[in-house]
Symmetry: C2
Subunit: 338 residues, 2 copies
DNA sequence: TTGTAGGCGTTATCAC
DNA sequence: GTGATAACGCCTACAA
């Protein structure tokens, strides 16, 4: 029982002009007299006429919808990225269809299918934790649907990627610990198969060798992603009587888990062990001591990703997949400085 | 340069059947022979044919899109609610268009217009902090577009609302403080004009009078919503040499701000002052002492809201606006118990 | 500068 | 059971 919308035909009857004239008025065409356009637009406003987007899209063979798949909607990172995208897309008249893969590869495939079905104009994706095989995404690109990846991506995907310069900032973060006097530094890493994880590990190693610090693979621990994962890793270390004098954790949550367990076991942060997080979260200033971390331009990442998508959409020719690396900043707080 | 999609006509030509037959096969109509349907479906699968949703929607006069407006995408609450909605909507074949009002009334109006323009089947909204006038929303309902409000709503809106039972749980939270021995309790409230704020204040007052505790309006402070707001309120109190022995804050962020300032000024929590938060956030277990708070069934709220929307959508008759109140749980941690 | 008519891909209403 | 055909609301040659 929805109020019937007024259509272009109704308006044409009322104004005694043809539908094409109205269409022209609404599409900024040149071949229409100024006064006519004004008249049409005014009457339209008066009667509350707006072109039906479904009809328009059907005819134009586009949907003005962009599908977005993220691993999760909890935690502050992805919502903030999405928020950045929204700013750009809403300016350009695009809508976002947001779906979550819940960190599951299977769900991710489902979501991709859903988006294909609903004929989005493009797809933006950040890979789930489980995703190792990216064939489906490459097939997607084959069919001609614009794809952009961000943050959690994979070098095998033949699409643009907007990422944080993990290598560089992991290097700088580690360097910070070294300069503060740490000798025996451990790295709590994200799941190894994530490219984001690999890049940070490289940065960590580079810093260690640069300063001739002892560094073997045992110092790099595949920890996971959550606070609980950070706790577990630290617990295992302590059970083995290993207490580093510096920890570089690949996420704030990992870092905070480590700090909690250190404190529970009577160790002092930063005196006994300095702890550095990664990718600033609201948690960083709540924990005691406040956490040093690397801030990422999260919202910026969303904006850049959206802009890249729009470039793909508007470009006539196929663009060479580009990689955009975003810079961060090191935020020194109490957890690394006595 | 997008690969052309195969259409119902192509398929009809290939299979040598009429388009209507194919349409029937895809719409579970009864008047089609089993084998025919099977044949059609199989060939369709083979050729990768899927009905074009734009055409289908145009003809059915629906969009299968639900517009969702939230005040913000940062913080964990709204993303989690949305996550709950997604579960329900994606089951039912609906897509969500998510927009943020950025806590601004003006932007909120813009967003509503955008959604009207894009002809969503229904709108779900949680009001911005600034929103006092809800005429536009009532007009929306007049035009027949289904509307559901959640969390931040307003009694003047003639639409279903899915809310947390703020009154009851504010009462219980306050009661908890009283039972733990507090006598001089202050309430850090959200902006007064929010109905959510009013309901919690009522609950607070009720608990105080129930236990014959002294309670005047000075004990109820309009604090805001953020951690910073919580800090400010506490600071002002301390400057006036007022140190309550109990604080019931209307959000975890307010509570944490209060705890920080208390500690900075040498007061102990919970010994000198017990602090109770509201609406569990991830921050609650990070702060020291860990924060007692009221957990809300956040994701559940999203589900219930989505389900309500679907009921409106599927119902032929206009439904009487219903209010659904969700229950929470009191989570006792160190900040209220010595 | 404006109007006419065909088509975008479906579904629904008739006939057969 | 199946097949034509007219909508759905808009855009765009082409004609006037």
């Amino acid at each position: 029982m929805r109020a019937k919308h007024i259509t272009i035909k109704d308006l044409s009857r009322i104004l005694n002009v043809s539908v094409s004239t109205i269409s022209r008025a609404f599409n900024d065409k040149s071949d229409i007299r100024k006064e006519t356009r004004k008249l049409v637009l005014q009457k339209a406003m008066e009667l509350g006429y707006r072109p039906n987007p479904m009809a328009r899209n059907l005819q134009k063979q586009i949907s003005k919808n962009i599908g977005i798949i993220v691993p999760e909607l909890i935690g502050s990172f992805f919502p903030l990225v999405i928020s950045g995208m929204e700013e750009v897309f809403s300016m350009k008249g695009y809508q976002m269809l947001i779906l979550s893969s819940y960190e599951s590869f299977e769900k991710e495939l489902e979501r991709i299918k859903t988006l294909e079905d609903s004929m989005v104009d493009g797809i933006i994706i950040s890979l789930s934790r489980e995703t190792k095989n990216v064939d489906v995404l490459n097939q997607l690109i084959q069919t001609g649907i614009p794809l952009v990846t961000f943050n959690r991506t994979n070098p095998d995907i033949k699409a643009p990627r907007i990422i944080f310069d993990d290598y560089k900032w992991a290097l700088l973060a580690t360097e910070h610990l070294i300069i503060e006097g740490c000798n025996n530094i451990y790295h709590f890493a994200l799941p190894f198969h994530l490219s984001i994880s690999k890049r940070r590990i490289e940065g960590f190693k580079k810093a260690m060798t640069k300063y001739c610090k002892h560094c073997n693979d045992l110092q790099i621990i595949e920890s996971g992603i959550s606070l609980e994962d950070g706790r577990k890793t630290m617990q295992i270390l302590i059970e083995q009587s290993i207490v580093p004098d510096g920890i570089f954790a690949s996420s704030d949550r990992l870092a905070i888990g480590a700090i909690q367990v250190l404190k529970e076991n009577g160790y002092k942060v930063p005196e006994d062990c300095r702890v550095m997080g990664f990718s600033e979260s609201t948690l960083a200033t709540i924990i005691e001591p406040q956490l040093s971390t690397v801030t990422q331009p999260t919202k910026e990442m969303g904006k850049k990703t959206a802009e890249m998508m729009i470039r793909l959409l508007e470009s006539e020719v196929a663009l060479e997949p580009e990689t955009i690396k975003l810079n961060g900043k090191i935020k020194v707080r109490q957890s690394t400085r006595v």
